[in-house]
């Protein structure tokens, strides 16, 4: 029972990363119809940035946690203005390809400077212990990650459902032309929303630095898993992406707990679930059916 709790907890933490990344992808997709392939590379930049800030500027984890998501969000906004916006009128596949090219550039740029080996990064001292919450000792840092991730997800939900900005974004996501026709300046929010999604990926990266191996390829395979998560949840659905992220994280951890022999299943599980969802509900669990084709 204690073991089960522990695996469940680890699953939730793993799911928190998937959920944060999927949330960023979903927000960007909703507003711009762009699937950002570079999301994994941005996550890597977040983690690597934390490592570089510590080793080269002596800035602690807490600085990284605040500075990097903001810096990456600005980077994302510049990216949107300079590159992504140029392809906005074309088939979304072109932006998918553009961000794929950016992924190659970002990964190899970091690789050429820092090599491919993993760099060690420690959790801040205050979070290095464990929390005794009755059942077993929870590693404090992982509890912290989970709390932050849930807070961010709730915060985004609040932003979208309770604020005027959120209303505009939701309107633009659901019916872009109609919103424009009604006099809502949709274009004004495109760049900030893109930056926000990128910032979320950066935040996930900083959070991952102390518990995942920090190397230039850390986001490369993860992004494919996040794509599958987003297909399962329904690409346009923000709630679906978050829910699917946590659910996949949980199930992965449970299967992994069965032992070494199940390692393959825990890796491919997300893709099997995706296949099942495609058979049963092609638009995703929480997605809306697009125009038939």
């Amino acid at each position: 029972m204690v073991n089960f709790l522990q695996h469940t907890f680890n699953g939730l933490v793993g799911g928190a990363f998937l959920a944060l990344l999927a949330l960023g992808l979903a927000v960007i997709f909703g507003m711009l119809r762009v699937v950002n392939f570079a999301h994994g590379a941005i996550y890597m930049l977040g983690a690597f940035g934390a490592y570089v800030l510590l080793t080269e500027a002596g800035l602690s984890f807490w600085w990284a946690l605040i500075v990097l998501p903001l810096a990456l969000a600005l980077f994302g906004m510049a990216l949107e203005r300079l590159l992504v916006a140029r392809l906005a009128r074309l088939d979304p596949l072109y932006n998918f390809l553009l961000t794929f090219g950016l992924t190659l550039i970002l990964q190899d740029a970091v690789k050429s400077r820092y090599g491919v080996q993993s760099s060690p990064y420690d959790a801040p001292a205050i979070l290095s212990g464990t929390l005794d919450l009755g059942a077993f000792d929870f590693p404090a840092y992982r509890v912290f990650v989970l709390v932050i991730a849930i807070a961010v997800c709730v915060g985004v939900w609040w932003l979208l459902s309770r604020t005027r900005v959120g209303m505009v974004v939701r309107a633009a996501t659901e019916r872009p032309e109609l919103s424009t026709a009604l006099g809502i300046d949709v274009g004004r929010w495109v760049t900030p929303v893109f930056g926000f999604g990128i910032g979320l990926a950066g935040l996930a990266g900083v959070l991952a630095a102390p518990i995942r191996a920090v190397n230039p390829l850390m986001g490369a395979d993860l992004i494919i898993v996040v794509f599958a998560v987003v297909v399962i949840g329904g690409l346009g659905s923000i709630f679906g992406s978050v829910a699917a992220g946590f659910a996949i994280g949980l199930v992965q951890a449970w299967v992994q707990a069965l032992g070494e022999d199940w390692a393959l299943l825990s890796q491919v599980l997300v893709f099997l679930v995706m296949a099942g969802v495609l058979l049963w509900r092609p638009a995703g669990l929480f997605g809306r059916e697009e125009a038939p084709a």
């Binding site: 979304p92 794509f227 393959l264 995706m274 058979l279 092609p282």
Partner: protein, 351 residues
């Protein structure tokens, strides 16, 4: 992506031989007749020009290993097959597969295993590999064609990653990260250890694969694919089973990519996990876009260009090839969407 596509098909010379016999009669009944105008952005290539091009291509192909390292020439031939296979889907069916490494890589492994364990002559091993790719493509394609556009790209990408993980874990067969080593190059006792001679031994397979795709694109079946690309709803309204056509194109594309992957395995005598990685799928798409989507010649030219460039970069001791290919790709997508061949034909047509 229809805005940048050129169809080099001459509607007037649509022949009636068809790769997919099952759809033959139906496709012929509704195939565009001789005087139908070419699709928007399309050209009617004069017959003499087509033969001149084919002749020139044949000469270049025969000369290639004399002007380049034969190893590079073999690579170009393999990647040309791969890229043309991707273009059959991207340019002529409107489906961007971002997971074709699954078929290229599966064929590479299957070919390598057949050559190692059964000692098959290499053309037979390559054929077996390509068939293995088709077997894999049946479930993947069946699921993937349920989605279109960006979703199709993500779904194919995800399934390819699944194949990658399976190959990584299934060490007893794939040797995991060590890869399949010393893949033999058997052909009835002929000595093909020299890359120069192997290139010529492999050329018929490459030519056959390219011809297969070219023949398909210019068949009634291919015209239906283009119709589906341009307007799926109308194609369905005309009574074409859209999903089934897409799946057939997917299988054919997997077969062609498989031929390339099989030859790649024999050519390098080595199969590593890289053949299944998503960067390999992405590279194939890069080559197609750089060469020109929907042009068939374009992917071949793109394959030659990218392979040559990578060889030159690694020869110059430049390790971060992704920086260069990534930059080229970003620029291509931003300002050069017609690609090399597309720009050329566009320029010629305006004159």
């Amino acid at each position: 992506m229809s805005g940048v596509e050129q169809t080099t098909a001459a509607a007037g010379s649509v022949a009636v031989e068809d790769q997919a016999a099952g759809v033959r009669a139906q496709a012929r009944a509704t195939a565009p007749s001789g005087d139908t105008p070419a699709p928007v952005g399309g050209t009617i290539v004069p017959r003499w020009l087509r033969w001149t091009l084919a002749g020139a291509a044949a000469l270049v192909a025969l000369w290639l290993p004399n002007g380049l390292y034969p190893t590079v020439a073999v690579d170009i031939a393999c990647w040309a097959l791969f890229a043309v296979a991707v273009d059959l889907l991207l340019g002529y069916t409107g489906l961007m597969s971002f997971g074709h490494a699954a078929f290229w890589g599966t064929a590479a492994y299957a070919t390598g295993l057949a050559a190692i364990h059964w000692g098959l002559p290499f053309p037979l091993a390559v054929l077996l590999g390509a068939l293995a790719a088709v077997v894999l493509a049946v479930p993947v394609g069946y699921l993937a064609v349920k989605r279109v556009g960006i979703y199709f790209a993500m779904v194919t990408l995800a399934f390819a990653q699944m194949v990658y993980y399976i190959a990584n874990q299934w060490r007893s067969v794939t040797q995991g990260e060590n890869g399949l080593q010393r893949v033999p190059r058997e052909l009835f006792g002929l000595d093909l250890s020299d890359e120069y001679y192997f290139y010529y031994a492999a050329l018929p397979i490459v030519a056959g694969g390219l011809f297969l795709v070219w023949r398909t694109v210019h068949s009634p079946f291919g015209r239906v694919l283009v119709a589906i690309r341009d307007n799926p709803a109308r194609a369905r309204a005309l009574g074409y089973p859209v999903h089934r056509y897409k799946l057939a194109a997917f299988l054919l594309s997997a077969f062609t990519a498989g031929l390339g992957g099989g030859l790649f395995a024999i050519g390098h005598r080595f199969v590593s996990l890289d053949v299944l990685h998503w960067t390999t799928s992405g590279k194939a798409v890069i080559i197609v876009v750089l060469g020109g989507i929907g042009t068939l010649w374009g992917p071949v030219v793109g394959a030659a260009g990218v392979t040559r460039l990578e060889d030159w970069l690694s020869f110059a001791g430049f390790e971060q090839i992704g920086l260069v290919t990534g930059a080229i790709f970003v620029l291509t997508v931003l300002i050069f969407r017609r690609g090399l061949w597309g720009t050329l034909t566009h320029w010629l047509r305006r004159r």
